[in-house]
Symmetry: C2
Subunit: 249 residues, 2 copies
């Protein structure tokens, strides 16, 4: 039959971009689907794209056409204000969705840059919308993803608006550790993909302050730092730092 004549290469491509085969499935798709249902979602990803460290997946101002799911690697998103100031608005790792900012205005508002060699699944947005109209669990899931991004951003607003520098950095480390754990990496030992400057931009402080605080956390026995290598020694201690009210009350 005709189906048997599909060239090996095409089969390979299909396999390579098949969501149903992806080990990040539970991170970017609804859970509890039959394999049959899952395979209908394989149509969502049109192709994959590699992004080399330092290169950008898309730039602020570019027309929006697709969402991207991180397969592996690490990204930062940056926003550039009218007067040229640049602010890091988020860090993204495997299984997270990029490009949600572009839906509203039909162009991207931020720039997404790889902090290490990375790969993403390209999901043309028209296809995402079409599938989620036909497939309720996907619709539900997609809405949750959008909503969680809003909640995440509000968490950052809380961070920036009401915490002091040391609390912010502690919260940052705890959050990073949790996200890495969820992806099967060590919770206590990791390599920072971003510079002190990028951490500082994200957390609303200067790179020198970040550096000083790392040193202080180390003196206090909370972590061990050597450049980009971080080992968390006392996670409970970090959580205490991050939650401590300003004045002892």
């Amino acid at each position: 039959m005709a189906a048997m004549n599909v060239p090996a290469l095409a089969t390979l491509t299909r396999l390579r971009t098949a969501c149903s085969q992806c080990n990040l499935r539970e991170l970017c798709l609804p859970v509890g689907l039959s394999s049959e249902e899952l395979s209908t979602l394989d149509n969502m990803v049109s192709t994959r794209r590699k992004v080399r460290r330092g290169d950008s997946l898309f730039y602020g101002g570019e027309p929006f056409s697709a969402l991207y799911a991180v397969r592996f690697g690490f990204f930062k998103s940056t926003l550039t204000s009218g007067d040229g100031r640049e602010q890091v608005t988020g860090f993204y790792m495997a299984g997270e969705l990029l490009g949600l900012d572009g839906i509203g205005g039909e162009r991207h508002t931020c720039t997404l840059t790889a902090l290490e060699d990375s790969e993403v699944c390209v999901m043309p947005f028209a296809r995402v919308e079409e599938l989620s109209r036909r497939f309720e669990p996907l619709q539900r899931h997609f809405h949750k993803v959008l909503s969680r991004e809003i909640v995440r951003d509000q968490g950052v607003m809380m961070l920036l608006g009401s915490m002091r520098a040391e609390e912010r950095l502690a919260a940052f480390l705890v959050n990073l550790s949790q996200r890495l754990t969820a992806r099967g990496f060590s919770a206590s030992e990791f390599v920072l993909r971003m510079t002190r400057d990028e951490i500082g931009s994200y957390l609303g402080m200067k790179l020198e302050t970040v550096s000083r605080l790392f040193s202080r956390f180390q003196e206090d026995g909370l972590i061990e730092v050597h450049q980009k290598h971080v080992r968390i020694i006392d996670i409970a201690g970090l959580k205490r730092v991050m939650a401590q009210a300003h004045a002892a009350s």
Copy 2:
């Protein structure tokens, strides 16, 4: 016929909650629909709800079931962190959508409180999802609303992360003025619905700083303030303050 026997009260209710008749239509629904298409959307709103000044529409932690469109009035959203600190994460006025944060985790993460007597349209979320599966323009519109909320939050992150107190307050005033203009109010003269403390919380500064900056802006001839009454005198000047790089470069 039976349809003729619909009691007058029910007709009235239908009229009162009809999106197709609402003068905020262009703020919360897709534009360019036929009146026929519009009337299918009348099913989205189940009822209206009044919220008295100081009362809350919902609280953080409560189960999520519906979205709300502001008909008139003014709301603040607040987030309470583990250690009890409260942060204002946004202000909402007529035509804006509340409750988007609740979709992801099926409970609300923030509390929405009316800052003046207000009224909202209640839109059961299941109905929103159902209608947006059947009606493409609504789906598209809803996705845009979600995305714009993300973009808005990122703007606030930029504000909090990379601007100084006076720049933040100037940006706040300019933004408020623009949103009021879009709703047909005066761009230059308005009444602040929130306290200095709430502005400060939103902008990541203390209420005393807000007050001092209002006074300074007044001395500099940018605005006129008497308590909650604000009149913008020099909007271009405010924009200059908000965009000025830290060091004179």
